[in-house]
Amino acid sequence: MKPTNQVKMEFESRSANEGFARASAACFAAQLDPTLEELGDIKTAVSEAVTNCIVHAYPDTIGRVMLRLRLFADNTLEIAVRDWGVGIADVEQARQPMYTTGGSERSGMGFTIMESFTDQCRVKSGSGKGTTIVMRKKISMRTARK
């Protein structure tokens, strides 16, 4: 299926860009006329994915983070977050709730949140290969709402 609209942006892995990334995603997603709760879900999922890049992909350096947003005719938003950092050796382990390599400042709940706030969350990674996260969320149609 071809997207009806898309945007792609790249920014540096600085923590100040976490807010920028989720606000941008929310602005773009507004075209689908989401509810406040759906907007909150989108912002949360983007925030988790981008924070992972900043904390884990580039632990000691500043690297590139790509955010691509695509809209589809069935009112689905696709969020892709990509980095070219250290990668995840064991994706299954990283997705486990409470698992973290980030110490007491991190909860290990990032993937759990991404999974529960979207309809689909796919992770492609490997040691030294960077990481790509693709999430999909269907936005309810206004007419179908009460």
Partner: protein
């Protein structure tokens, strides 16, 4: 991220405002640690009424602050949690560990 603290009879109330993400969390952790060490609260109340956004960084922040409070033999509760931060806390089952009251919306 602004934070307003008031203390009375060893009850420390901290009102947080704005967005709690990884960017804001480190500063908040330091400030909360400092307040706990200064006041040794019997009860720490975190008021979330003005928190407009929170991601999993907030879960780590709450767990850490909760442990710190227990170390000084205090209790902690979180009040007035709006919908979005509430959904994140519920997804992590944090309300099973820490007393949390959610704002009815």
């Amino acid at each position: 991220m602004p934070m307003i603290c008031t203390a009375e009879n060893r009850t420390l109330t901290v009102r947080l405002a704005g967005e709690i993400d990884h960017h804001a969390a480190r500063q908040l952790m330091m400030e909360l640690d400092r307040e706990i060490e200064r006041r040794f609260p019997k009860l720490l109340i975190l008021d979330f009424a003005s928190v407009s956004f929170m991601d999993s960084s907030g879960i780590a922040l709450l767990l850490r602050t909760w442990r710190r409070t227990q170390e000084v033999s205090g209790a902690m509760k979180v009040i007035h949690v709006p919908k979005q931060p509430g959904k994140v806390l519920k997804a992590a089952n944090l309300h099973r560990m820490i007393p949390i009251t959610f704002e009815e919306l």
